[in-house]
């Protein structure tokens, strides 16, 4: 059986290019330009899906992107619009929601249970007994609607794109094209977004005059350089301050969907109208089509959707549909409809329409019923933009007003008229929008006079057919809305949530007005009194993969990265930085530091250069400790708190001269600390002599550490005496290192050994690194990674802010009471810290030791409750035991041993090391 008809003047199929695809395992052939649905209809297949809840057979309803009926899975990508998707060779198309097939669906048993499957059915039925919930869930999942996502089928995410056009035009019908041309000719850059594969809108499936106009508009558009045209694209959302989300491409084989974003100067909404279905018994049966769907199938795809048709002629579109059907060779019964009378009372048939009854009692045998109630204004974008949208009892359409500036309407959404009226109006709108977008560049053009409102004359049938489907996505019938009202869900927003009407993938484009009308009739209210639900993005479905896009993160590499990479470093990410975790043997690397000498790349350490007469005042405000007394050439450990007295950042600060300090911060805290300094500078010291710059990237930093480090460095260093008395612990010097000028040399380190930290201009970093390694050869120098440093710092009892502290840790818990400044004026955290100064802290950081490993985050328990936790833990190659830090309640911290609860449930008795430090508590090695 073929429903394909001879050549149509506007057809988009290419009869010279047959395309084979599979439909539920069956081989089917269509033509290039066919949609999945038109190709199936052409072969006589009329049941394309099963409905969401009752598994009723479904065919084509609106025959476009919005068609709620024919959602299909293609090559494992579910829920695609089968009436929109173009055929591609080799597509594997499967129907959804039916088992074993759409023709014989055992789940249709749901239809027999119709009277039980009322709104709230699942909540009402499957609540008790609670223990059975998992079982219910398992069984119900098998009945859930929608296709199955096959994960590997997802095409790779496309790069996102930003658009910077003056004017974005949503909708490429005659009005959208006319507005684009006018805006571009006025001097604006224009982005025209059309959701079908070609621009032209309703002209494409129109008559001879429409096709002439279409050709004219397309030619003009092709000749206009100022318009970028995107097809198969949708403006799916308008967000704050005019931010637009646009989906582009995708939905087909292999091609990923792309996200475009931008904030154009003006938005023209020209998305046309959506035909509104009528409510009658059997309005979802295959063979009940909207007039536009008929016109599209006949004129674009040369498919005759039925051979014996009943067409309710209530407006130009339905009259034209009847003419198109006759031209396609169908037998057509035209029913003249005036003010909604007569209407369809019922359509009946076992699997598809077989007979039609009208409200005036007439009955016809037919396999095609073409009827609509009117038109819906798709108000989503204007509503998202902040416009007021109200349904009018007079017009039965949405009226839009109070649009924000720079959002304008064109075409059917703006009112009623002929195509000529729309084109003239839209051209004026386009010029006006161009001026709105760029008033300093483009001459003023007034907004055109409003178009008269479009009016529909349909009436709800009385009595209301309870099983007429209102929402085709969600399979919600009119009677279910009444049940929701009966149960007390008396606002349209509640009816929506209880019944899920308008919540499906078409977002109420077909159902919202009918749902409001049903609620209004049942409650004896006007449409205005019922009000509307809220429109939210997206306008049409978008894929999550598109929103996510390819995930890209900036990576920062230190100046020494290439060396690490060539020498077997295992990297890890610390914020944006890549750092060597180890060179394969962290314990051995740590041992080398304790026994001889090692070197680590610490370039990621934050460095901030602060200068000016008021530099020490700034530091006093920023840190809890005092800085005025710090002599030139000395360094001091500093701690920053927040207003609540919580430790947020730490690091060593060196005073290079009277008015210059170099601050070091944690690797991840550098940006945050710099912002903090800028705020204090601007807020508290606005008139001061103060300059702060983040200089982390300017230096390659390396720490040479271990008992032999001084010996190693002596031959490399000029302009600085390394002897202990000349350059003691916690001092800083400028120096020439391995022939490189402008270096800083610090006597600081994180390992507890004799340490020298070198800050070398970044470009010379690798040279100095090589010089150190070759000078260190005779001492058996080992480069070490962060893991070895972690071992060394836990052995030494150095805490890390954020790991060994939490959001309640004050300096007092860390044993830093002496650092909290007295008599230095205001500083961040002063009030809390002064309040707490003489009070015993509730917790304290201590060291723990044990034979076997105590994992980080293990709880410390006492009398059956938690009294703290292990915060850092390493096996110590020096002590050959596990060394840990733990934040414990004070009473537990005072004991000599505590109980640690291990992950397997067993307990370990750990020794408490008072004063935190496991190795060299006197600090003699570091001072050496």
């Amino acid at each position: 059986v073929t429903a394909r008809i001879p050549l149509r003047p506007g057809e988009v199929i290419d009869r010279t290019q047959p395309i084979g695809f599979s439909w539920d395992g069956r081989s089917v052939c269509g033509f290039a330009g066919d949609t999945v649905a038109s190709a199936l209809l052409a072969t006589g297949t009329r049941t394309l899906a099963r409905s969401f809840k009752y598994h009723q057979p479904l065919g084509v309803l609106s025959g476009d992107l919005y068609d709620p009926h024919c959602r299909v899975s293609v090559n494992g990508v579910p829920n695609l619009p089968g009436a929109h998707l173009r055929l591609e060779a080799g597509m594997v198309v499967r129907s959804q929601g039916a088992w074993p097939s759409v023709d014989r669906d055992v789940k249709a048993v749901n239809g027999l249970l119709r009277s039980f499957l009322v709104p709230g059915f699942y909540y009402k039925t499957f609540m008790a007994p609670h223990a059975l919930l998992p079982l219910y869930r398992h069984a119900l999942r098998r009945f859930s609607a929608g296709g199955k996502a096959l994960v590997p089928a997802r095409p790779p995410a496309a790069e996102k794109r930003y658009v910077f056009h003056d004017v974005v035009i949503a909708g490429g019908g005659p009005a959208g094209i006319a507005a684009s041309l006018a805006a571009a000719r006025a001097g604006a850059s224009v982005l025209l977004v059309e959701q079908e594969y070609e621009v032209g809108g309703s002209l494409r499936w129109g008559g001879a005059a429409d096709l002439v106009l279409l050709a004219e508009l397309r030619d003009a558009l092709a000749a206009e350089a100022g318009v970028e045209v995107l097809v198969n694209s949708t403006v799916f959302g308008r967000y704050d301050d005019g931010w637009l989300g646009i989906r582009h491409g995708g939905r087909t084989l292999g091609e990923p969907e792309r996200l475009l974003r931008g904030r154009p100067g003006a938005l023209v909404v020209a998305c046309g109208l959506v035909e509104r279905p009528s409510l009658f018994h059997g309005n979802a049966l295959p063979g009940t089509l909207l007039p536009t769907a008929v016109r599209r199938l006949v004129n674009l795809h040369a498919v005759r959707p039925g051979s014996r048709a009943v067409v309710l002629c209530h407006d130009d579109e339905s009259v034209a549909a009847a003419a198109d059907l006759e031209a396609a060779g169908a037998e057509v019964v035209r029913i003249e409809v005036s003010h909604g009378d007569p209407a369809v009372a019922r359509a009946r048939g076992r699997r598809e329409v077989e007979a039609v009854w009208l409200t005036d009692g007439r009955r016809f045998d037919a396999d095609l019923l073409v009827a609509a109630a009117g038109w819906t204004v798709p108000a989503a974008l204007p509503s998202m933009a902040g416009g007021r949208v109200a349904l009018s009892s007079h017009t039965r359409r949405f009226a839009i007003d109070e649009l924000p500036g720079r959002v304008v309407l064109a075409g059917g959404i703006a009112g009623a008229g002929s195509v000529g009226d729309f084109v003239a109006h839209a051209a004026a709108v386009g010029e006006h929008a161009a001026h709105l977008a760029a008033p300093d560049r483009i001459a003023y053009a007034a907004a055109p006079a409003a178009l008269p409102p479009g009016i529909d004359h349909d009436r709800l049938p009385s009595p209301l057919p309870r099983d007429a489907v209102v929402d085709f996505d969600e399979d919600v019938a009119a009677g279910e809305l009444l049940i929701a009202l009966d149960e007390g869900y008396d606002s349209i927003e509640l009816v929506k949530r209880y019944t899920t009407v308008t919540m499906g993938s078409t977002q109420g484009k077909h159902s919202l007005v009918n749902a409001i009308a049903v609620v209004a009739a049942a409650r004896g209210q006007s449409l205005e009194q019922v009000g509307t639900t809220t429109w939210r993005p997206p306008f049409t479905p978008v894929s999550l993969g598109m929103l996510a896009g390819p995930q890209r993160h900036p990576i920062r590499r230190t100046p020494l990265h290439a060396w690490h990479d060539a020498h077997g470093a295992r990297f890890f990410a610390e914020g944006e930085w890549l750092r060597p975790e180890s060179y394969g043997d962290p314990a051995g690397e740590a041992r080398a530091v304790r026994e001889s000498v090692g070197v680590i790349d610490v370039s990621t350490l934050g460095k901030i250069d602060v200068r000016g007469d008021d530099a020490s005042r700034l530091l006093d405000y920023l840190y809890i400790n005092s800085w005025a007394s710090l002599a030139e050439g000395r360094a001091r450990y500093g701690v920053m708190c927040d207003d609540a007295g919580i430790v947020v950042e730490d690091g060593v600060v060196g005073r290079l001269d009277e008015n210059r300090f170099l601050l070091t911060t944690t690797s991840s805290g550098a940006q945050r600390t710099w912002r903090r300094i800028e705020r204090i500078q601007q807020e508290t010291f606005p008139e001061s002599d103060l300059y702060a710059a983040l200089v982390t990237d300017c230096y390659a930093s390396m720490n040479v550490t271990g008992p032999r480090s001084r010996e190693l460095l002596e031959p490399l260093i000029e302009e600085c005496d390394l002897e202990r008395d000349a350059f003691p612990f916690m001092h800083v010097r400028t120096a020439r290192i391995a022939g490189v000028d402008g270096c800083f040399l610090w006597r600081i380190g994180f390992t507890g050994e004799l340490s020298f930290e070198l800050h070398v201009p970044a470009h010379a970093g690798l040279d100095v690194w090589h010089a150190i390694l070759s000078a260190g050869e005779r001492f058996g120098i080992r480069p070490f990674g962060v893991e070895a440093q972690r071992i060394l710092r836990v052995e030494k009892g150095h805490f890390v802010v954020g790991q060994d502290t939490d959001s309640e840790t004050t300096p007092f818990e860390l044993g830093l009471a002496r650092m909290v400044g007295q008599d230095k004026g205001e500083f961040v955290g002063r009030i809390e810290l002064e309040h707490r100064r003489d009070r015993e802290p509730s917790r304290r950081l201590v060291g723990l030791q044990h034979r076997t490993f105590l994992p980080e985050s293990a709880l410390v328990v006492s009398d059956g409750r938690s009294v703290g936790r292990v915060t850092s833990s390493k096996m110590s190659p020096t002590l050959e035991r596990c060394v840990s830090l733990a934040l414990l309640e004070t009473a537990a911290a005072d004991r000599d041993s505590v109980t640690v609860r291990l992950p397997d449930g067993s307990d370990a008795e750990a020794d408490v090391v008072h004063g935190v430090c496991h190795v060299d508590p006197e600090g003699a090695r570091a001072r050496g």
């Binding site: 967000y239 704050d240 301050d241 005019g242 931010w243 974003r261 904030r263 405000y621 207003d643 609540a644 912002r675 800028e678 705020r679 204090i680 601007q682 807020e683 508290t684 606005p686 008139e687 205001e826 961040v828 002063r830 009030i831 809390e832 309040h835």
Partner: protein
Amino acid sequence: LISVPCPLCGSSPSTDFVYVDEAEALDGESSTIDEWRRSLHFRANPFGPTHELWQHASGCRQVLVLTRDRVTNAIVASRLLRGRGGGW
């Protein structure tokens, strides 16, 4: 993604800025500990305009005082924090 006006740079997407805090200046000098804690942790969260600090981190790096309406999300005023003085 709202558009944030900067007195120096003009409007930019909010991703160019870092939200800092509410802008109500905390009075460190005269507070008791209880008043201080209340002002830190109990925020007014008004239904309407509120003053907030944002830093133009990917721009001029100035800290701004924005007056943002929490109901409409409209930013009705934007000025430099510079020189406000007072506490952190």
